[in-house]
């Protein structure tokens, strides 16, 4: 994988992310509950990983050689489900069953119903440690040879949890170069802005102090994301964290940066407005290369 991406690829990823955002809105309005801000904010990162970077095969979800992606903050699962459906793991129509009785698309992901997800999640602060366990297991089997990578996607708010820092410490101690954490640094959590609820800054310096390689990037810039992941993959003697500065609610200006959109879905009117915004902007979002 080269360190640069063509404008054509970037354009394709941007369009894909836009389609995924539309699916997120459609799912949430049908479900009548769920989280809006985080899923919209993470759509670009999920798109980048599933449509460009991850070693995976939607037709063979349990392919042993696949990269592993652990979603820690399970509440952003609308973006997870929408991305997986668009990537070909299951029918896009199934997205409309989100949170309904009998659905495979539980309010927070459950591995029993959806075996292609690596872990059940929801309670915060435990995903990174599961990824650490996966990376440790690979180290036992393959030593320093990084034939696959373990990605842990997590929120900034869940860094309030002690379990998160226990995982960070252990990964640093064991120099897990096969582990890449991605923090959705959107600055919001349920009760408000992270720096008011429980200040995290200087966040990069904290990870660095725990012996991680730290990369801070704008979270909606595919070129920057790509460079960050390629750098992370090249660091073999330390785990890497990509602190992705995202805009919660990204793509729908009325939802952006407002923590009140953390844990509620749009109503019909708001959803129609959001879908109109997304569809109008579809294909017109400027990347930094244009």
């Amino acid at each position: 994988m080269s360190n640069s991406m063509s404008d054509e690829i970037i354009k394709k990823l941007e369009l894909q992310a836009n389609v995924i955002r539309q699916s997120i809105i459609e799912m949430l309005v049908t479900a009548g509950s769920g989280h809006t801000a985080g899923p919209l904010g993470m759509a670009d990162i999920f798109t980048y990983l599933y449509f460009h970077e991850l070693k995976h095969d939607p037709k063979n979800p349990t392919w042993p050689e696949r990269d592993r992606l652990v979603l820690s903050n399970g509440h952003i699962c609308p973006v997870f489900y929408a991305t997986m459906a668009h990537a070909g793991y299951f029918d896009i129509k199934e997205l409309q069953t989100l949170r309904k009785f009998g659905t495979r698309l539980q309010g927070h992901p459950h591995r029993e119903y959806l075996p292609m997800v690596e872990n059940s999640s929801g309670p915060l602060g435990s995903g990174l440690s599961q990824a650490v366990g996966m990376a440790l297991a690979d180290r036992i089997d393959h030593g320093q040879k990084n034939d696959r990578f373990i990605y842990a996607l997590m929120s900034d708010g869940e860094l309030d949890e002690g379990n998160s820092w226990e995982g960070i410490m252990l990964a640093g101690k064991n120099q897990l170069g096969n582990l890449i954490a991605v923090v959705d640094r959107n600055n919001i959590q349920i009760d408000g802005y992270t720096e008011n609820i429980m200040p995290l800054e200087p966040l990069g310096a904290k990870w660095e102090a725990f012996n991680w390689h730290v990369i801070e990037v704008p979270g909606h810039d595919f070129t920057a994301l790509h460079e960050a992941v390629q750098t992370a993959k090249s660091i073999f003697n330390k785990p890497s964290v990509i602190i992705a500065k995202t805009i919660p609610g990204r793509g729908v200006p009325e939802f952006e940066r407002d923590y009140l959109w953390h844990g509620k879905p749009p109503n019909k009117e708001e959803a129609n407005m959001a879908l109109k915004e997304l569809r109008t902007l579809g294909g017109k979002i400027k990347s930094e290369h244009q």
Binding site: R68, V70, H110, R111, E112, E118, N119, S120, S121, G122, P123, G125, S126, S129, Q130, A131, V132, G133, M134, A135, L136, A137, D138, I140, D141, G162, N163, E166, G167, M169, L170
Partner: protein, 340 residues
């Protein structure tokens, strides 16, 4: 008399009966499990020797992970290792694992269906001098209530050894409860053991020509863990008083061996449960849940009665919390008197 099919230690009633800590059986079992299966890994939270995991750690250095004093991490890292095909054994004191990390065990191990074997050492009040903070007397309840979790409380070091190895072929996550202090060796290498199977250790003879003073079986004592020896002593003494009884070692509390327990309840018409645990939610509760539905008989419960522990020797504490031989005898007499 001791059940001959159980092939128990013939010196079990002797004053010089061999003693060994139950946790040691786990340590030796884990070492053996590591030799039998190269996917076995061990994780510990700064209590490697105390939980006897050092035996495995010294032999398999590259398959041992020291996570530090971080029990939440202990459980969640193990879940991740299981996802990659490893068979993780995690150990700490029961008070901290599953005490502190209960939600992590629930979500990332039980709900997530990742097979991890959780060894909770220093369970019960028999930990002694460390005091109430370190005496896990709620752990059976915590783990029994969790779907997809198997719960085992071995009665001695030999049974702990067998139980630890047996988890290799068990499909679900397992909690193994271990005690710190040396306790009598009851079983032998030849005693049968299977997860999910309760075992009759004692059944009074009702034949006077064999020298028994008991003419009928009047009660069944269901017991697990370190108190099994005391239950046997009580049964023997009761027989001397003309009271015939059965002692069942309910080493696996979940899945529950309803068949054996119902059959013994039918045979005797009265049950006493004995455990080094809170009465609420423990092994006795599991017995009561089963018998209330299937064979309602009077039941008495021996265990800690809604109190925290405190410092003292094992023997002092067992006596203080009324879990000793005279307490078991009294409970048996009481339960018999309650029969209609």
């Amino acid at each position: 008399m001791l059940n001959p099919n159980a092939k128990l230690n013939t010196k079990v009633f002797d004053t010089d009966c061999e003693v060994s800590p139950i946790r040691k059986g786990f340590g030796e079992g884990l070492l053996q499990a590591g030799k039998l299966n190269d996917q076995v890994v061990g994780l510990c939270a700064d209590l490697t020797e105390s939980t006897q995991m050092h035996l495995f750690a010294n032999e398999f250095k590259n398959r041992f992970i020291e996570v530090g004093v971080a029990e939440q991490n202990l459980a969640t890292v193990a879940s991740g290792m299981s996802a990659m095909g490893k068979i993780p054994f995690i150990s700490s004191y029961a008070m901290f694992s599953p005490g502190r990390n209960w939600e992590q065990i629930r979500t990332t191990i039980a709900y997530n269906d990742r097979k991890v074997i959780i060894a909770g050492s220093h369970a019960g009040i028999s930990v002694g001098p460390d005091g109430g903070t370190h005496q896990a007397i709620e752990d059976i309840a915590l783990m029994r209530v969790m779907p997809n979790m198997c719960v085992i409380s071995p009665c001695d070091a030999i049974e702990a050894f067998k139980a630890t190895i047996a988890t290799l072929n068990w499909p679900t996550p397992v909690y193994i409860r271990l005690a710190r202090e040396k306790t009598p060796i009851i079983t032998t290498a030849n005693t049968p053991f299977a997860i999910g199977k309760a075992q009759i250790l004692w059944e009074s003879s009702t034949n006077p020509s064999l020298g028994s003073k008991a003419s009928k079986l009047e009660a069944c004592i269901v017991v697990c863990g370190a108190l099994v020896h005391r239950a046997l002593l009580a049964a023997k003494e009761l027989e001397g008083k003309g009271v015939g009884s059965i002692v069942v070692n309910l080493a696996t509390i979940k899945p529950f061996d309803a068949e054996t327990i119902i059959s013994c309840a039918k045979k005797t018409g009265a049950v006493v449960t004995v455990e080094e645990h809170q009465i609420a939610g423990g092994m006795g509760s599991a017995v009561a849940e089963c018998l209330a539905q299937n064979c309602p008989v009077p039941i008495e419960f021996i265990g800690v009665q809604n109190k925290f522990g405190q410092s003292g020797t094992m023997d002092e504490l067992i006596a203080h919390y009324k879990m000793d031989v005279p307490d078991i005898i009294e409970a048996v007499q009481k339960v018999i008197s309650r029969k209609g």
